[in-house]
Amino acid sequence: MRSSALSRPKTPQIDMTPMVDMAFLLVTFFLLATTFKTGEIVWVQMPRSVAGLNLPMTDLLTVFVDKDGRAYLSLTSPPARRAWLQRHAQVNQVQYTEEEYRAFEMMSGFGVPSTQLRELLQKSPEERKRFVQTGIPAKVGDKNELADWIILARATIPRLRIAIKADATTPYKKVEDVIKTLTDINVLRFTLITQPKKLDDDAGY
């Protein structure tokens, strides 16, 4: 004890306690604030706009339109998705098993005609990723499955907000089909999802 106190130069002792406090505070914050990125149903390069309307994270139905014009639907919150599929099963008189319901809850969205839905639900998550989804038929005609799904979603969630997330390069006629579908079922107020840009930015062409 004596010899060490005399010979060894004093190593500075840093009090780590406040740092630990801070680190754990931040950990707690991020832990609570985080919502794990759920893989989006399809990757879409959104057009840019200065519009800054924030969309809610709940009760939101997003119509994805990819650059080939295929439509996908994505509804927030798994319990709502289950209720949505239950209504669909009721209306179309089909039965889904508990596993299929669970698979539907886990999927953030889908883009297949309802005839292919069961096939999609029976796949494992890995198989599903590789499965080419052909889009929900939105052709404005006597049968419009996209409209049916949206009507069911509105019946499931009364305060539903509807948004269109289309690719910047999607031909307008494909988006027009979706808009026409919406206005035909009296959805006159909806949101076009864009990514932010500055007022002075030009489109680059």
Binding site: A5, A51, P171, Y172, K174, T183, R189, T194
Partner: protein
């Protein structure tokens, strides 16, 4: 001139050493800090701060074609501006009623479209803009047009289909129009 206190006195040193020792247990916090920051980094990277943003669009109540054309015609020709978004990011406009000589090109950048709309909004009383995206134009073009409506505070605008008559007039004005 040594002070009596400076004499290295073994007993005193021992006492000093004891006094410095903290009461209780001193834990080594380093590993805890390591772990805390590891978790912090993980959550920081995995979290998505992204919230979807967008522009609100309110469409008119769909009614039969007749009332719609009547409404459009009720707008005075001097108030009306029609923007036609063509494929390959081409943009044309005409004022008032369509005629072959009236179609003029415009660019999507600030110097083109925004300046033009600013002037139009200033010199026109109750400006009305019709946005007519060609079926084959990119969706982005419509978004830019809608965005410019908001930026230039043009409250009265509508999205409509580009008519065959307009396309024919454009063809006769020498503007390339894809066959749809």
């Amino acid at each position: 001139m040594l002070d009596i206190d400076d004499i290295p006195n073994p007993n005193r040193l021992r006492r000093l050493g004891r006094a410095k020792e903290k009461p209780g247990i001193v834990t080594d916090m380093n590993s805890m800090v390591d772990m805390a920051f590891l978790l912090l980094t993980f959550f920081m990277l995995s979290t998505t701060m992204y919230r979807p943003r967008g522009m609100e669009l309110v469409m008119p109540v769909p009614d039969d074609e007749k009332t719609r054309t009547e409404e459009v015609q009720a707008v005075k020709a001097s108030q009306a501006l029609t923007l036609i978004a063509m494929p390959e990011n081409k943009l044309y406009y005409y004022r008032g009623l369509p005629e072959a000589a009236g179609f003029k090109p415009l660019t999507y950048d600030k110097a083109g479209l925004r300046n033009f709309l600013q002037r139009f909004a200033q010199e026109t009383e109750k400006p009305v803009v019709l946005l007519k995206p060609h079926p084959d134009c990119a969706f982005e073009n419509l978004v830019i047009l809608l965005d410019e409506m908001n930026i230039n505070r043009i409250g009265r605008y509508a999205i409509d289909r580009v008519s065959e008559q307009e396309l024919d007039l454009m063809r006769s004005a020498g503007i390339p129009v894809p066959n749809s």
